[in-house]
Amino acid sequence: MEFAELIKTPRADNVVLHRPFYLAVEGTLCLTGHHLIFSSRRQDNAEELWLLHSNIDSIEKRFVGSLGTIIIKCKDLRIIQLDIPGMEECLNIASSIEALSTLDSVTLMYPFFYRPMFEVVEDGWRCFLPDEEFELLSSVTDEWRLSCINKEFSVCPSYPPVVIVPKSIDDEALRKVAMFRHGSRFPVLSYYHKKNGMVMMRGSQPLTGTNGRRCKEDEKLINATLRPGKRGYIIDTRSLNVAQQARAKGGGFEQEVHYPQWRRIHKCIERFNILQESLIKLVEACNDQSHNMDRWLSKLEASNWLTHIKEILTAACLAAQCIDREGASVLVHGTEGTDSTLQVTSLAQIILDPRCRTIRGFESLVVREWLQAGHPFQQRCAQSAYSNSKQKWEAPVFLLFLDCVWQILRQFPCSFEFNEQFLIMLFEHAYASQFGTFLGNNENERSKLKLPQKTMSLWSWVNRSEELSKFQNPLFEANSLVIWPSVAPQSLQLWEGVFLRWNRPSKFLDEAHEEMISIIKYNKELQAKVNALRRQLAEMETDDRMQENL
């Protein structure tokens, strides 16, 4: 298929672009296979807007006489309006955009066509491999092994080829456990807490069904993570009710009788369309220009977004507390173990592990706990807040995770190496990107698509010093402590950087940020100068003394 077939009108002149807080600009609109490009022809203030078609969530058309208006709503929540003279042109452009922004085939997506304009210093596809992670682990404990059981994705289609499991459990046992867990997602190591040797495992629900099936190997596997005489916690991310209902469909939860050393705690984290609807309502409220103070708060409340944030954070804090304070190992799962489970395990690591609060550590966390762990990005991020499709598999699971990270970052502004922009960037790229990192639903699909060979990794771009500097938190001071966020409603706030990003002028806040950077920069410069002078003085003094001694 040629993109040209889809582009009925590649170019329109005298188009007017409207954006909130900017003056309307007149210019030329061009459509290419992957971009909508608007460039103003004003000499004094030439500007260009490049918008990926894949970033477009929905479009609306309106006509007043022969002047057509297209309203484009993006997955990054931005809304722009284009006034296009000529009804036919406008219709053509609208239908082209619609077609180009809803391409069926992944291989037609921009990452397969994108040619980087920067030099690749470090190939992101080769970073954060499981072997590296395991090497780190083996330096502190030898109770674990790297299993290649899933080499051809033959045991679990949504797991990576290699996983970390208890040493005492052989591959044969793992195969049996896989049969006993939803989607074959047998429990694997998620996190090892160096401080006390406790671990966090994750998997999916056990297939106990209504007649209480059991699996000795499963019991053996998870018991292998316990110290003698110790107990552990199973955190089920579903309410007890939901977990019980799951039995009717062949799922279920660990029965006390078969897992006597484990205490099960149910936490209710919502999934799928409930989350998607929450996002839609929230963004609607944020975009509503008419409401008074009253309606704003009730709309914020009605969206339930912050309730979800609170639930997820609470579950993650609980997991972290079990590990760090109770000195117990933890197993986390919900139903599939690809959504709420990952929110909990990854946030718990941010709380517990200072490494995850560095830029590289956080990237590694996203790779391990989201990409390799098989969070179906392509399905979940297919549409964002303006979608009308209401597909069951669309859900802002990853955005909720990023929001939770932002909440912790806000409470511990000096403990993270990255800043809010870094999180916003990840949000954008998860939904629309020139990079292949977030394409596909799991490692299996990624390898079939040959993404590492055919596309550029997001990390190759981010981890260059030019880009990194934008994402660094000037206030960062390594904090080796466990950080316990508050989950009280008073402590949780709307993430304005994402949800009000296009609805409020940010000039004053940006200025404050710049001021902060310059204060710290000046301090660093002075430190360098003082150190240099000190060295110089010390040298001169030694010279002196030597002369004296002579």
Binding site: D294, A488, M516, M540
Partner: protein, 651 residues
Amino acid sequence: VENVRLLDRLSSRKSALGTLYLTATHVIFVENGSETRKETWVLHSQISSIEKQATTATGCPLLIRCKNFQVIQLVIPQERDCHDIYISLIRLARPVKYEELYCFSFNPKLDKEEREQGWKLVDLNEEYNRMGIPNNYWQISDVNRDYGVCDSYPTEVYIPKSATAHIIVGSSKFRSRRRFPALSYYCKDNNASICRSSQPLSGFSARCLEDEQMLQAIRKANPGSDFIYVVDTRPKLNAMANRAAGKGYENEDNYSNIKFQFIGIENIHVMRNSLQKMLEVCELKSPSMSDFLWGLENSGWLKHIKAIMDAGIFIAKAVAEEGVSVLVHCSDGWDRTAQVCSVASLLLDPYYRTMKGFMVLIEKDWVSFGHKFNHRYGNLDGDPKEISPVIDQFIECVWQLMEQFPCAFEFNERFLIHIQHHIYSCQFGNFLCNSQKERRELKIQERTYSLWAHLWKNRTDYLNPLYRSDHSQTQGTLHPQMAPCNFLYKFWSGMYNRFEKGLHPRQSVTDYLMAVKEETQQLEEELEVLGERLANLQKSQLNDNKFKSKQQDRSKQLGLSTSNNSLANTPQEYSNDLKSFPSRSPSQGDEEDSALILTQDNLKSSDPDLSANSDQESGVEDLSCRSPSGGGCLPSEDSGKDSDEAVFLAV
């Protein structure tokens, strides 16, 4: 009373056993056990309500709510003791004479001269001079000398030159409580001004020539404009109801060249109830997100804040952009009028966004113009219906602006919180009584100390590190976003949940940046010293030993840590399910607390002034999140530091 338990409001499991002392000025709770003896001090004047609850098996619970939003829950073993304490506190918390208030016994060990100096820090005549007054249009008037015209006004008022004493007196007779129009702010760039008064006694048809002339005079004092705005800050319905009582609002037909405008700010009773509702939300035990947002919404608090801001923005716009003078009033012109005039001044003039300027602003629009501090904040026992968080709302408006303009204010959040605290504490004389007249009669300046001097002395604590006097945000008028950006108004947990330190960000950007700036200053100094030494050394290569020791001292100092994050890295109550699980040695429990107390003790010994009211101290600690013992974030201290048990909070 011994063996009293102090409950942690947010966790039933955590409580401290100790001894309760009642003194003439404070309730003091001293914890048993730990060597450092953690203390909680509460000033009697901060107590807003005491509630004795039903006796339980463990004892008799006593709930003390404070005006600075602290809530203290005590359990006293003996019913009789509890009753005695209850009765004593009820009496102590409601003094009937000014002489009983803390400021008359508070002695910061300053000599007479220092005290007098302190009262001179804020000088309103100087302030009007700064505005450019007196000038061709405005003059100081002694018409109210000896409070002959209006007993709630200051003796010195500024009025248009063309307004004769006859006009003023005539106008005053036509205004509630004789509060005639007087100058609040003058913009020397365009001659536009903000004047304030009370409502006219217009009833349904009455008019007053002198009052009309008075408004005419205000208009003439601004030759650039041919009309003035008259802003009635009440809802129209309230103003109309007032007409039946012979009061009301200006009829546009009777006054030449006025534009009349209602801005619906609710009255003190609505505001009192609104705050009450919001505090109930703050006090909820482990509320859900919905409980909280619904409660906040239903309280209407933020809506009221927005109404005040909108009024201030309207006036600031009229003055700065249209160059039109504004006369503001409400009913008596001492509550909403004070709020609105001061918000407008703050928006208009960068001076009021400095620390000194802010003190001047409160002194000008609140203290001098007879805001009834005693009635509104219940310093003396009085009519509970007179109590209302009027200035609290103004202080919150400032905070909301600080959130929107982080570089525009010289002071920080702590400054606002401490001012709020002292409005209720009665530790300083500034906010005593209901008017300047009463304060003079009581000889406040001779018998008490000024808060402004105290704050000024500690000003480094109150600096906003992002403030730079040459920054663009600090120049000119602030233009906050008007509707529809309602989401700009946020709940201020730093104030209303001030004593629940677990709810706040655990690291303070402000304190971090202040520490960096302090270090920067030291570096600058050292750079200079080193530069000199280098020059010297180059000059005379021979005598070099002099500076050696000094240099070493310096470098030690520079190892200073700017870290803030040692505070309370403790998990909260994330699940009730965990309760049944045993473990946790109680002996771990005290480390964090003792660290906190250590600083309190340090402060106490070094600063007698602060130690006298250490309830304020705990406020400081809450807010600052400063590393209490210095190096909490050092890797070596890792687990030790964060291993104690929980400030258990809401799930």
